[in-house]
Amino acid sequence: MTEIFSVFLLILLVITAAAAIRTTNLFVAVMLMGIFSLLIAINFFLLDAADVALTEAAVGAGISTVLFLGALAFMNEQERKQAPKRLAGLISVSITGLIMAYATFDKPAFGDPNAPAHQHLAPWFLETTQSAVDIPNVITAILGSFRGYDTLGEVFVVLTAGIGVLFLLDTPSAGAMLKRDEGLRHYLIPRMVGRLLIPFILLFGLYVQFHGEYGPGGGFQAGALVAASIILYALLEGQDRALEVLPQRVLTALMSFGALLYGGVGMVGIFKGANFLDYSVLSSDPVAGQQIGIILIEAGVGFTVTGVLLSIFHAFVARGRTQ
């Protein structure tokens, strides 16, 4: 039954993607990509990736759509219909696709427990997590501890992207705005419903942050959720009110502080005589040390992601109001 459902979802995914590409209206394309993200999140969930599904639903379907719509406000919604290289493109894409399809016949069957991907590291991670870190969520253990270097790198990529956007679009400052942003304040129904939702989204974000060791969640998802709740507030009450609640300098400090916290926890490991990002020395008990380390770096990740996503959102919106 699940298999039929997942095949149905995959077909739906392809149809949505095809529609998003075919339409010449960019607004429609962006909305279809939002639906695509939601569908692929359900697919991830069916494939046992609850953490990934949560991230994709919050980031892909929520924040990404808002950002694209924010940017579309400056652009012509209608794509000019003309593509001279269409046939050549179609041919080269089909050939590449067919070669890849031919290669799939050598791939291990879907869900095969003996596939090479499941042989080497995966069993080790599953066995070692309980003895070395002792938290139920293996994903969080790998993300925070076993592959902490990777995650540190990703956090700095996110920070760099945030800094890049702020350089390209100027930091929003209240003085430069032409007039006060009223948001949806005069629309009763969105305002009332949104006001009811915001505290719960925020609460859920905090739950996901602090419960990430026990259930699906962690800093990345929590950061996206908290950012989403503030973005909703900004849409309802206007950007000025949102910037009064969380000014841009706080956001800038937040995103650098998160990355610093992560790197700092790594440095503490060095000063205590262990390797960079080795949390075992943070406490007298190595397992407790690992847990403290993971909680701290997850907090750092949450700070950075919230700060960067909100800064990007504000930069895009403010651009339209100063020009």
Binding site: V14, V52, G60, L67, K85, F110, G111, A117, A122, E154
Partner: protein, 120 residues
């Protein structure tokens, strides 16, 4: 059944090629960025598909589930972080497109190029 066994891979290929097609054929820069994120989502689907183990569950130890078979956590970790990095890079791309729009007044690539030639 071979079709069901390989269906995930084929969906991945279809999505990947659609994204690829959009990136190489379309003139509109926003559309290209959408194509790029489609390409990215296809890769996510491939990784998560590979991580799936028949009869497995989400890799979280809990007393609520008897099954001791877990799906592979490693690809899931890689994709989790990749999604957030993906949105950040998309936002950076959008910011660059916005500046291009302000400088050239268009986001169609051939028009940008002809304007560039006029200027020279």
């Amino acid at each position: 059944m071979i079709v069901l066994d390989l269906f995930h891979y084929w969906t991945f290929i279809a999505l990947l090629m659609m994204g690829f097609y959009t990136v190489i054929v379309k003139n509109n820069l926003v559309k290209r960025l959408l194509g790029l994120s489609l390409f990215q989502s296809a890769v996510f689907l491939l990784f998560i598909g590979i991580a799936k183990v028949e009869g497995g569950t989400t890799p979280i130890f809990t007393k609520l589930v008897d099954s001791q078979v877990f799906s592979n956590p490693l690809p899931q970790v890689l994709i989790l972080t990749a999604i957030v990095v993906g949105i950040s890079t998309s936002a950076l791309g959008l910011a660059i497109i916005l500046r291009i729009k302000e400088a050239y007044g268009t986001i169609e690539e051939d028009e940008i190029q002809s304007r560039e030639e006029e200027a020279q």
